[in-house]
């Protein structure tokens, strides 16, 4: 089928009467089993003969391994790198020029480069006993100086994470569009801005159950993974096996957010172990392992200058961005995706003629970073939106006004910005205007003049972003990383009783795809969603897919399902025409029936005839049958651009440093929404994570590289009282390039809150001379800044 041939952007879809198609606020099909404790997560997989694994992990951030001492009686149950003959290290190489390659051994060899790095694997009947064995193994380590500060790591004569590199920089990039044109701008603001290292913290950790099926000559890996097909490719590379010898099954997954998009050394280890031992083996990541060992995210530093005219019109941005990538390049996204992305997305939805950005992906003795919901966008939005508030102050404008002056306007769509990002559609100024109106900026300014009786200070902040989603081949081929998405495929099969089976290679870890993809299929075929089954997360059952990441699943897999269902519908229609004895040109498929002038035949009847009574079919029937696999790619694969304006009102107690979010408004444009209930849930959930970034979550390290927030008593995740009942408003500008005009929206909620909240806190405290440019904004940071400002004021007086 020709791409985009069936493009439809009209708001009214045929299924709107059934309440099950695109646009329906349909409760989810997956809820019932999950609410009865009958989900099947990886920890719930039960296999006969299963044994547990615990790992010996490095207690030090950087050390040479002098020896690994295993008690005699455990010699046959402890495995080290020396045992893993033929297993290759994990390599995630970017094709960008100058990228330095790290090799991550699945069990450490020679050196350890992060706390928590795997050193030995211990096998026992239960996890507790495996941990006993792990505790009995003694490591003889020679501590080396730890590299914990990414800015110092760039300095000459620093200790090296990977000695043969000569420095600690995975990759440096430079991007410039005539920055000299901006240098004479009357407004010039320079700041350093940083975001803390975070842990993604899905409620369920990673987990692996590995077993080998000798009949099929196949390794089966049950793994809580977002991208099972990619995991399989990575495993095959490390294990030296054919991909066909490996099956990856990702069952119910308890949240991903990026954390479950990495190929784990544990996955490689357990694959090797089950083949070595001949029985199933299991490892479940516990919370400490999650917080200490596997992957972090978000640690950015910006040295940024914004140039503007005195009326607030942006002239340009000059930025040096550094991202702490940790010790190794993680598979498949690599160590440089995040920093390099900063350069291309920093200008966001703003117009400016001049731009320069230099980025560094820096290696340190910390865990590798992974793209977390929003990826680099959260940090970029934080940096730029904080700067725009300073520009507003310099220009004597309301922060909202500065944004309205510089945002791309709807009549400019589609719009290519200064970094050649192709904005597909939207009305950004309208989103900002609606947000300002909904938060009632004028009333807040009045209220601020009155002051608060309780001594707290009120502040209001806004931010806006664009979320490039479902970007495909043309974007990712440029990164040259191990994974480049191409066409997305879906398989659709009518069953003999008229039900519909869909097999899709993406995976759902809370996004509700068992419901939303069924809605897409219902939209095309009219089959009741109760009779549509979605099969996800199994390489043996689903077409190849790069999986679920980058807010791509509804655009890509939704598009693929629609395409496959259209083809299936077309086949059914032609069979139906035969059964109705009509000319195929004169029948239509509508609401699950093939209709002609003289009557109709249901899909159920067509399926029954095809499978059970083929004798009723004419001889010249299309032999292809009622099972199709079709591929899909949007008309342009440079990505959909959803966006939202966020506005926050906070009350800040300058003496206690406590921040209360009094009101929060989000005006979101995610294009056409397949299921607004699910979309709202994604936005609310993203907001909670954004609040975590803004106010709570931080993984600090001491000078020797020890992570210090290694329980949930120290690494604080927002709870019900920390997240407000936000108000949502939707705009729906369809994407011109996708099926139904949908856009990816899964990550957006987490992008803008840190900026909006920080701007609100700074708005509240600006009269005190306080400016906070670092996330998270903690009570201690607020009070320290307030006291420092008071001291400055006193010494000036």
């Amino acid at each position: 089928m020709k791409e985009g041939a069936e493009l439809r952007n009209e708001r009214e879809f045929p299924s709107s009467k059934s309440g099950q198609g695109v646009g329906a606020r349909l409760p989810r099909k997956e809820d019932d089993r999950l609410m009865r404790g009958r989900g099947l997560y990886v920890g719930d997989v039960r296999l006969a003969g299963l044994k547990d694994v615990a790992f010996v992990r490095s207690p030090l951030a950087h050390a040479r391994i002098r020896g690994i001492h295993v008690p005699e009686r455990y010699r046959d149950r402890v495995f080290t790198a020396a045992d893993l003959v033929g297993i290759k290290p994990i390599r995630a190489v970017s094709g960008l020029p100058g990228f330095k390659i790290s090799e991550q051994p699945v069990l450490a060899t020679g050196k350890v480069r992060q706390v928590g790095e795997l050193v030995a694997m211990c096998l026992a009947p239960t996890r507790a006993e495996a941990e006993d064995i792990a505790a009995s193994v003694m490591l003889d380590l020679e501590e080396l100086p730890a590299i914990t500060d990414m800015l110092k790591a760039r300095e000459p004569d620093t200790a090296l994470v990977h000695e043969h590199w000569g420095d600690n920089v995975f990759l440096e990039t430079n991007y410039e569009v005539d920055i000299s044109a901006a240098l004479d701008a009357p407004i010039k603001v320079t700041r350093e801005i940083s975001t803390a290292r975070q842990c993604m913290s899905p409620l369920e950790g990673r987990g692996v159950v590995a077993t080998f099926d000798s009949r099929l000559d196949q390794l089966t890996l049950h793994s809580a993974a977002q991208m099972p097909h990619i995991t399989r490719s990575g495993l095959a590379e490390c294990l030296g096996m054919e991909e066909g010898q490996i099956r990856v099954i990702s069952p119910d997954v308890g949240g991903g957010f990026g954390h479950k998009g990495i190929l784990l050394p544990e996955e490689v280890c357990l694959s090797w172990l089950t083949m070595q031992r001949g029985h199933p083996v299991r490892w479940l990541e516990d919370r400490r392992e999650h917080l200490v060992a596997s992957s972090n995210c978000r640690e950015h530093h910006y040295k940024i200058t914004v140039y503007a005219d005195s009326d607030g019109t942006l002239r340009g941005i000059d930025c040096e961005a550094t991202v702490d990538s940790g010790a190794y390049s993680s598979y498949p996204f690599s160590a440089c995706l995040e920093a390099a992305q900063v350069a291309s997305i920093l200008p966001g939805p703003y117009k400016m003629p001049a731009y320069r950005c230099r980025t560094f992906s820096v290696a340190t003795n910390k865990c590798p970073i992974l793209p977390y919901r929003g990826v680099a966008r959260t940090g970029v939005c934080f940096a730029l939106e904080l700067m725009l508030d300073l520009v507003a102050a310099e220009a004597g404008l309301e922060p909202g006004e500065v944004r309205l002056r510089n945002l791309v306007r709807p009549e400019q769509m589609p719009f290519d910005n200064v970094t050649k990002k192709h904005f597909d559609s939207g009305d950004y100024p309208e989103a900002m205007r609606r947000a300002l109106a909904a938060i009632d900026i004028d009333a807040i300014r009045e209220k601020q003049k009155q002051g608060e009786a309780d001594g707290r200070r009120i502040g209001v902040g806004v931010s806006i972003y664009c979320e490039q989603a479902a970007h495909g081949t043309s974007v990712y081929s440029g990164w040259g990383i191990p994974m480049v998405p191409g066409h997305e495929q879906a398989s659709a099969r009518l069953t003999p009783d008229g039900g519909l089976e869909l097999r899709v290679g993406v995976h759902s870890h809370g996004q509700g795809m068992e419901t939303t993809l069924a809605q897409v299929a219902h939209e095309i075929l009219g089959v009741d969603v109760a009779h549509i089954r979605i099969m996800l997360g199994d390489t043996a059952m689903t077409p190849y897919s790069t999986g679920t990441w980058g807010s791509r699943s509804m655009v890509m897999a939704g598009g693929a399902v629609a395409t496959a269902c259209r083809e299936l519908g077309e086949r059914a229609r032609r069979i139906g025409a035969k059964l109705l004895q009509h000319d195929p040109a004169s029948v239509v498929l509508q609401n699950g029936e093939v209709r002609g002038v003289n009557g109709s035949v249901s899909l159920k009847a067509i399926a029954h005839t095809w499978y059970r009574r083929p004798q009723d079919l004419p001889a010249d029937v299309d032999p292809g049958g009622l099972e199709v696999t079709q591929g899909y790619k949007p008309v342009r694969d440079s990505g959909t651009f959803s966006y939202a304006a966020h506005a926050a009102v906070v009350a800040v107690d300058p003496d206690l440093g406590e921040v209360e979010i009094l009101d929060y408004v989000i005006v979101e444009d995610g294009g056409v929404l397949v299921n607004p209930l699910v979309v709202d849930g994604q936005i609310y959930g993203g907001l909670a994570q954004g609040i975590g970034t803004a106010l709570y979550e931080e993984m600090p390290f001491d000078a020797s590289g020890q992570p210090l927030a290694t329980t949930l008593a120290d690494y604080l995740l927002p709870g019900p009282t920390e997240v407000p009942a936000a108000r949502l408003d939707h705009m729906e500008t369809p994407s011109p390039y996708t099926q139904f005009g949908v856009k990816g929206i899964g990550e957006g909620g987490a992008i803008a809150p840190p900026a909006a909240i920080a701007n609100a806190v700074n708005d509240a405290l600006r009269p005190l001379g306080v400016e906070l440019m670092q996330s998270p904004i903690t009570p201690h940071r607020i009070v320290a800044a307030v006291l420092a400002a008071r001291a400055t004021e006193r010494s000036a007086a």
Partner: protein
């Protein structure tokens, strides 16, 4: 192994389990009731919440052995429960779950709220659910769902159950068990690691935390300096230290035991001794490993002697620095460790003061005692206030 008899989902169960088996692992692994989820295993996230004697409890930090005779209801036992049925309908209507991992624990806690708090407004519902983390939904749908069920029941005039129906005192799940005991488990044999316990070379390091102390002695500096040569005597002043062998002037090997509340560690290692007669100063720098907790520490004691009263007396300036790595550094809470270190250093200074003044040491000193028994309050008062921490992670 203990045999544990209890009720799970109205069914009598009798199974053997190790005493260390949590109630969560017991129902998941022994009864295949996998709806009870483990999210943190340290009592914070709430995913493992079950009903214990009818009210919510954390099954990850409650040991199955402690629930002998108790009545346990997991999410699987709430299939037909009236309130849970209402909650399920509201949860799905309000999209109160995404990945579903927190949902069983959330429903158990929500049921308790509905039962106890018929007047709860949004704020009280949020506070009431604060022990259950959800990483997906932002809580909006959850709060709405619980609120709608509470309001619907209020409209039907259904009376609340104070305290969830509980009338007796004490920890839920306790009190119906007879006395019992398990056999002692075999203690873990640690691998011999003598090479690592007494490192050949002792590296220099930059301490993460430095604590300063100063006290005065009535002897002249040269005499005090000579006393610092007595490394065994100095070691005896350090609370918890025991020496493995007679020290040489340059090197000492031994063990230091420290205790932070219930946490006990024994760092085994060696120290290097440096002295500079020209400046009347010196340094002892050491490294040690606690095998049990896979933690290590590096520490140094620097001292400098300054003449007082025209050389008749001496001011001793002590600077004690340390860096901790491994488990104890990561979960020990730096503030608490610092408090411990402050107490240790104060006692060390007090003991040194006493040792060098020639007063007899307290009975029971030096090794392996709780620090609080070592220095009397009188001596403690002689110590100048700590001058302050120079660096650290505070």
């Amino acid at each position: 192994m203990n045999t544990i008899a209890l009720q799970v989902n109205r069914r009598a169960v009798e199974l053997s389990a190790e005493p260390r088996t949590s109630l969560a692992d017991f129902v998941r692994d022994k009864l295949d009731l996998t709806g009870t989820h483990l999210g943190c295993e340290h009592g914070v996230c709430g995913a493992c919440t079950v009903l214990l004697d009818g009210v919510p409890a954390r099954s990850c930090i409650t040991y199955a052995a402690a629930c002998e005779g108790a009545d346990i209801t997991t999410i699987e036992g709430l299939d037909e429960d009236e309130i849970t049925t209402e909650l399920r309908a509201a949860f799905t209507r309000e999209h109160a779950l995404q990945c579903g991992y927190c949902t069983p624990g959330m429903l158990v806690s929500a049921r308790d709220l509905v039962l106890r708090l018929p007047d709860a407004d949004e704020r009280r519902i949020r506070v009431g659910l604060s022990g259950n983390l959800c990483r997906c939904t932002g809580y909006v749908g959850i709060v709405r769902a619980v609120q709608s069920v509470i309001e619907a029941r209020r409209a039907r005039s259904i009376a609340p159950q104070t305290g969830g129906g509980r009338t007796s005192l004490g920890p839920v799940g306790s009190g119906r068990a007879a006395a019992s005991r398990s056999e002692r488990p075999v203690q873990q044999a640690l691998a011999p690691a003598s090479e690592s316990a007494a490192p050949g070379s002792i590296p220099d390091f930059v301490p993460a935390t430095v604590l300063d102390q100063r006290f005065t002695l009535a002897q002249p500096p040269a005499e005090v300096f000579a006393m610092f040569e007595d490394i065994a005597g100095i070691a005896a002043c350090l609370p918890g230290v025991s020496l493995k062998s007679p020290p040489s002037p340059e090197r000492v090997e031994g063990l230091i035991r420290v205790r932070l509340g219930p946490i006990a560690a024994a760092f085994e290692g060696a120290a290097r001794v440096e002295r500079d007669p020209a400046t009347l100063s010196g340094r002892i720098v050491g490294i040690g490993t606690d095998q049990r907790s896979h933690s290590a520490t590096q520490g140094e004691i620097r001292y400098r002697l300054l003449p007082l009263e025209g050389g008749a007396a001496t001011a001793v300036e002590l600077s004690i620095g340390y860096t901790l790595t491994g488990m104890l550094a990561q979960v020990g809470r730096p503030g608490l460790v610092r408090d411990l270190a402050k107490r240790l250093v104060a006692d060390f200074a007090a003991n040194l003061d006493r040792h060098m003044s020639g007063r007899p040491s307290e009975p029971g000193a030096p090794a392996e005692l709780s620090f609080w028994s070592i220095a009397s309050d009188v001596l403690r008062a002689r110590i100048a206030r700590m001058l302050g921490r120079r660096s650290g992670t505070g």
